[in-house]
Symmetry: C2
DNA sequence: CCACCAATTGCAAATCGTTTGCAACTAAAC
DNA sequence: GTTTAGTTGCAAACGATTTGCAATTGGTGG
């Protein structure tokens, strides 16, 4: 008996919401950018730039343009970067209002990804910060394992 | 009043202990390898290959040799890889008998590193594994913040 | 509707970390 | 010593990401 959506609030943002965010920052809403946002909107998984490129209709834009667009979106906080340790950065649209803080469980065989709600206990993190007199402490946490399909 | 060593057991392994491990695997104990092991022995921090290279007496060996040596040491479980998300892998000698599982608190300003004892609660990890029917679940966890010296 | 300008794009080339091919070299065993 | 599998240096290949630059374009003001 699985709940329909056990993850975070996942309502897809309107494309217009996203583009207006761009305009507000006096950035242009161009063909490549809308296309990239559309891809991200429809993929609730972290994607590499190359994967986004592959999803794009052939010749829509250059790979470099994607790197630049993603870079911009990340700077504006519209996209969050994830690192699964395989040498390629992955990006995911940040849900409206959310801080984009959550983690993943990645299959080491097929690279499948499940979003994880659990997070490192905030209190312990606070203790770590205090004990070491560090400020603005955050963490990067990802889980790895073998998914059901890859276990046979 | 700081305890002398608040980290894990940190007794330096003898170089001979390390080299014999190599011989046991029918690998050769060469100049470059001993030199690299010496560097690692004296640096209880994760080092990039390039940093190891810089520590080495000039011309001791090629950077490529370090990559290869580290690769071997990692395969033998003598060295553990860490990823601070800055594009360069870091390596640290695994304490004898230890599984090398611990984390770091990294300063985002100066890249200073503190070893962290706390770990993600094993029980919750088990729950995550069970709930998603994943096997052999582990995690990668690092903390980031601003160290005391960089706070002014 | 048009002109204007900063923002954007494509393409080629540069960077950076890491890996690989290969011929010359050497530690360790006999 | 001789032998040989394991190593090394050097050059080149690689994959991800960035940068320079000239050509293009979205959006604003008129």
């Amino acid at each position: 008996m699985k709940k329909p959506c056990q993850h975070h609030t996942h309502k897809k943002q309107e494309l217009s919401t996203l583009t207006s965010r761009l305009r507000r920052e006096s950035r242009k809403v161009t063909g490549p950018r809308s296309a990239i946002l559309e891809i991200l909107r429809h993929h609730p998984h972290p994607l590499t730039n190359k994967e986004i490129f592959a999803e794009l209709p052939a010749g829509e834009c250059d790979l470099v343009t994607i790197y630049r667009a993603i870079q911009l979106l990340e700077k504006l906080g519209m996209v969050k970067r994830f690192d699964f340790g395989d040498g390629a950065a992955r990006f995911e649209l940040v849900a409206e209002g959310a801080d984009g803080h959550y983690h993943h469980l990645v299959c080491t065989q097929c690279a499948g990804v499940v979003k994880i709600e659990e997070c490192f206990p905030a209190e312990i993190e606070r203790q770590i910060a205090t004990k070491n007199r560090f400020q603005a402490v955050t963490h990067r946490l990802e889980f790895f394992g073998v998914c059901p399909d890859c276990q046979k």
